[in-house]
């Protein structure tokens, strides 16, 4: 098995693992009423390490899994996460990978993701929440929680999947990470 194929297989396994953790463990480790989004953290991590293509595809696949499992609006999570994966990948291409960029990406990505979810829900009429209030009391703790978990997920992905052979998106400009 080539390194590339092994990494891709590992990536799929990681995605499935993240999905399982998301549906089994995450609801039980709520802090301040919010649960982390492991799939989102994984999407950003993959995007930062492997670029916008891998980021958007991971985001789409992970989001789709969540959409099917949550019985909510099909496509909403896939849409948000694929865009998020692409933007995070592009950010890594522009600024080069760093843990700080990862933390910022996860935080901003989490906030934007929650805002987009609320906005889409509001536009199609399934959400009756007060968006400003939800941003403060749900999106903010959610973003902080995800940001705190990012180093853990990043280390796991680095260990299990590793950096791409042809030097990942961020590495092109930033050199060796960490």
């Amino acid at each position: 098995m080539s390194v590339n194929l092994r990494q891709r297989t590992a990536l799929v396994v990681c995605l499935l693992l993240a999905f399982i953790i998301q549906t089994t463990v995450a609801p039980k480790i709520r802090l301040l009423g919010v649960q982390p989004d492991v799939v989102l953290i994984l999407t950003v991590t993959i995007a930062l390490m492997r670029g916008p293509l891998s980021g958007s595809m991971t985001g789409f696949a992970g989001g789709m899994l969540r959409d099917f499992q949550s019985q909510g609006m099909l496509g909403i999570d896939a849409l948000i996460k694929s865009v998020l994966g692409f933007v995070a990948g592009r950010a890594a291409e522009e600024f080069g990978f760093s843990v700080m960029l990862g933390l910022i990406s996860v935080f901003v990505g989490s906030m934007v993701s929650e805002f987009a979810r609320l906005l889409i829900g509001f536009i199609i009429g399934i959400s009756r929440y007060d968006i400003i209030r939800e941003l403060f009391f749900t999106a903010l703790p959610f973003a902080i929680y995800n940001t705190l978990l990012f180093p853990l997920v990043f280390l796991a992905i680095e260990k299990l999947v590793g950096w791409p052979d042809e030097q990942g998106a961020g590495m092109i400009q930033a050199g060796r990470p960490l």
Binding site: I20, I21, T23, T24, V25, K28, I29, G51, P52, L53, S56, M57, F60, G63, D67, F68, Q69, Q71, M73, L74, G75, I76, A78, L79, S82, V83, F86, G89, I120, I124
Partner: protein, 285 residues
């Protein structure tokens, strides 16, 4: 350079495709009804992933339990305080509930009496009892502003309470029938003998001016005779407690009467605002 541009274009095309697929799915899902294809797919996926989730739940249970344990330990103090607060709140609610229930019973009785009376009347709450040992009176929460005037009769579902002796704008004082300065024209219900039920300052009334020849039974009801001009006829005052034989040389004898109303537990009363009171000064004129 050309490779980079090609790669960038490819990335954008892929993203565009993914966004398009997502939006299409979102739109179709939103438009179709619950029995539609995508809804059906979601249900199938739920059935497919359910066993995986059950297995994963078992595998991950130590992680979840340890987090719960840690979280519980961390929150134990605040949870205990919260539980204590809830307990206090529930205790207060239980007391409130019982209080409301008892009040409901009392108000029902009062309402029933209110409806049965032929005179216009008004309900009032007792806001205080007399503060000294020499005065048997209560303060009610209705006054001249509500149409409550002096000498108006006050009753309860159990019987006669007393008369209004002074009335302020929003409160009035009611002298109880057991006050030692109180006297009501009364009638023994069976023997039909008239007398005056006077207060003794204690929880006892004395029925005076009963003829020596009158046969009085213990337990006989004493009601208002309607002769005093203050109370209408037929309201319960009390029950004969004792009827000792009087002194033979005297014309009248006294009968001990237990008041029908338990004054210390009085909380609501009715004021007969529509009864035409005949005052002494009116008679003189």
């Amino acid at each position: 350079m050309r490779y980079q541009e090609k790669k960038s274009l490819r990335n954008r095309i892929v993203l565009g495709a993914l966004v398009l697929i997502s939006i299409t799915l979102l739109t179709v899902y939103y438009k179709e009804n619950r029995s539609g294809f995508l809804h059906g797919m979601q249900k199938v996926s739920m059935s497919v992933t359910a066993p995986i989730q059950v297995g994963a739940n078992k595998v991950t249970s130590p992680v979840r339990n340890s987090f719960s344990w840690g979280s519980d330990l961390f929150n134990a103090g605040s949870k205990y305080r919260k539980a204590q607060q809830q307990l206090s709140l529930l205790q207060k609610e239980t007391v409130d509930y019982r209080e409301t229930k008892m009040e409901n019973v009392r108000l029902r009785e009062l309402l029933s009496l209110k409806k049965s009376l032929p005179y216009q009347n008004m309900a009032a709450s007792v806001i205080s009892h007399s503060g000294d040992n020499y005065d048997s009176s209560i303060i009610i929460d209705k006054g001249t502003g509500d149409g409550v005037l002096e000498d108006m009769p006050v009753i309860s579902p159990d019987g006669v309470v007393g008369t209004v002796v002074s009335s302020g704008r929003s409160a009035a004082e009611v002298k109880l029938v057991v006050d030692d300065k109180s006297g009501i024209a009364a009638l023994l219900q069976e023997s039909r003998a008239n007398g005056i039920a006077s207060g003794t300052g204690e929880d006892l009334l004395e029925l005076e001016y009963i003829k020596q020849s009158t046969k009085v039974k213990v337990g006989e009801l004493v009601v208002t005779s309607g002769m005093g001009g203050i109370f209408p006829k037929g309201l319960l005052i009390g029950v004969v407690k004792a009827a000792p034989p009087g002194i033979a040389s005297e014309l009248f004898r006294r009968v001990d009467v237990t008041p029908a109303v338990e004054f210390s537990q009085l909380e609501e009363v009715l004021i007969l605002t529509g009864y035409p009171i005949v005052r002494e000064k009116d008679l003189v004129r």
